[in-house]
Symmetry: C2
Subunit: 244 residues, 2 copies
DNA sequence: GGGGAGAGATGCCGC
DNA sequence: GCGGCATTTCTCCCC
């Protein structure tokens, strides 16, 4: 049995590892970490050169269904086209049935660039290493060892009285989980170093409601610190012709 | 100054709230919760009817840049086309410069369907309500109160000795954070009810390494439970013609 | 609108 | 590969 003209076209672009984008009326079923089903509707389907597939509805930022790199795509066509995407490693299956194709495009896209991102938690702990007085007067960070047997500690060092201090950074609001993390790290440091006193400081822009009390109950402190931003803001908007 | 033919086309589809998809060689800069920059390369850009924008590189499941619903798109064109996306509520800005357009498509897509998803944590706690013996013999769940002042407790009830039990469900591996959650809930229940003894049970498929000891140190128990799956698995693969 | 918590989270790094 | 942890997490739901 031959494939339909559309399936044949899709097949050829898949074989060439093209970036494929099309809009279709379709149904979608997923079996894997969970089970999902989506009745007939219009969606945009993206298949990347690495065989990542994304299915987008007309609203929302997240794909309604997807499959990550490493899947095997299989086509079947009769009155309608079926795509079966199987991921052997994750033991997942995605079944798409295409009823109407609204548009179709594919091209061999090339992109060697990697995004540069600044203002994350790593930048925050870097800033504290460079400017330890942001935590408090007399704070001396130890040489950087992020991934040690002690755990994944953002910053640690000694205070002016030579007491070990563990600092947990959060970009925005410090929540209960952040306090739980800090408690685990302080406990691990105490055990591994055989110390009875280790201080814990939560460094963030603000605290979630109720966290301040919880933090103090545990014997820890809060230090207000904002994450760094290096790029200049475009204060002056570009001269524009039309807006939506 | 007039817009270029491409900008004019884009402008019209934006005005009509169409689902827009195009591939372009472009640069992208973001200012907001963090700062990012991406040098010239080939990407696929999606603009949804709700003005959500997604920028995808040829690999990976996550968009390299994006802006959620509620943004204002502004076009400027000369030798190249600039799109400025501004989100007044989130105080975010995205600047895209388009150098080459590889393909362009837009259509008024309609989708009234909502995805049906099964096998999540809610389904798991529903299953425990219906089959309380999964936790242990004699366990009696109380009426469902997910969002109380105590917090967001998955299941709670009495054991055969009339001792209050808090159950925290996890779909896959129970980790340190799950134990911390359980501890918070048990503590809040003890305080609010004035009880000295409240049991805590972590219900999940398996435990992360080290969590078993931590759980027992805190005086809590582990119960192995798998999340429910309702849809039949497609055991028999469809007859296929070609695979990738 | 903001906070808490789950997610088929994704992605990165280290072991 | 699995595990831990940040994320411009996203999304839902409730206050």
């Amino acid at each position: 049995m031959d494939l339909s003209p559309f399936s044949q076209q899709l097949h050829e672009h898949l074989a060439k590892n093209h970036f494929i984008v099309f809009a279709a009326e379709c149904t979608v079923t997923y079996h894997g970490r969970a089970e999902s089903h989506l009745e007939k509707g219009d969606r945009v389907i993206i298949i990347k050169p690495d065989k990542t597939i994304l299915i987008h509805q007309p609203t929302g930022a997240a794909p309604v269904n997807y499959m990550k790199e490493g899947a095997i795509h299989t086509l079947t066509s009769g009155d309608v086209t079926h795509i079966h995407i199987h991921h052997p490693l994750h033991k997942e299956d995605l079944f798409i049935t295409l009823y109407t194709i609204y548009f179709f495009n594919a091209a061999p896209l090339i992109d060697a660039e990697t995004i540069t991102l600044l203002g994350n938690e790593k930048d925050m702990s870097d800033m504290i290493y460079t400017n330890p007085q942001l935590i408090e007067e007399g704070f001396t960070p130890l040489s950087r060892e992020e991934h040690t047997t002690y755990g994944f500690i953002d910053v640690f060092g000694y205070d002016k009285n030579n007491v070990l201090v563990v600092v947990e950074c959060k970009r925005y609001a410090g929540d209960f989980d952040a306090v739980a993390q800090l408690a685990r790290y302080v406990e691990r440091i105490k055990q591994s170093k055989g110390l009875s006193t280790v201080r814990g400081i939560l460094a963030c822009q603000k605290l979630s409601p109720g966290v301040k009390d919880f933090l103090e109950t545990q014997g820890f402190a809060y230090k207000c610190i904002e994450p760094p931003k290096y790029f200049e803001k475009h204060k002056k908007q570009q001269k524009t012709l039309r807006s939506f």
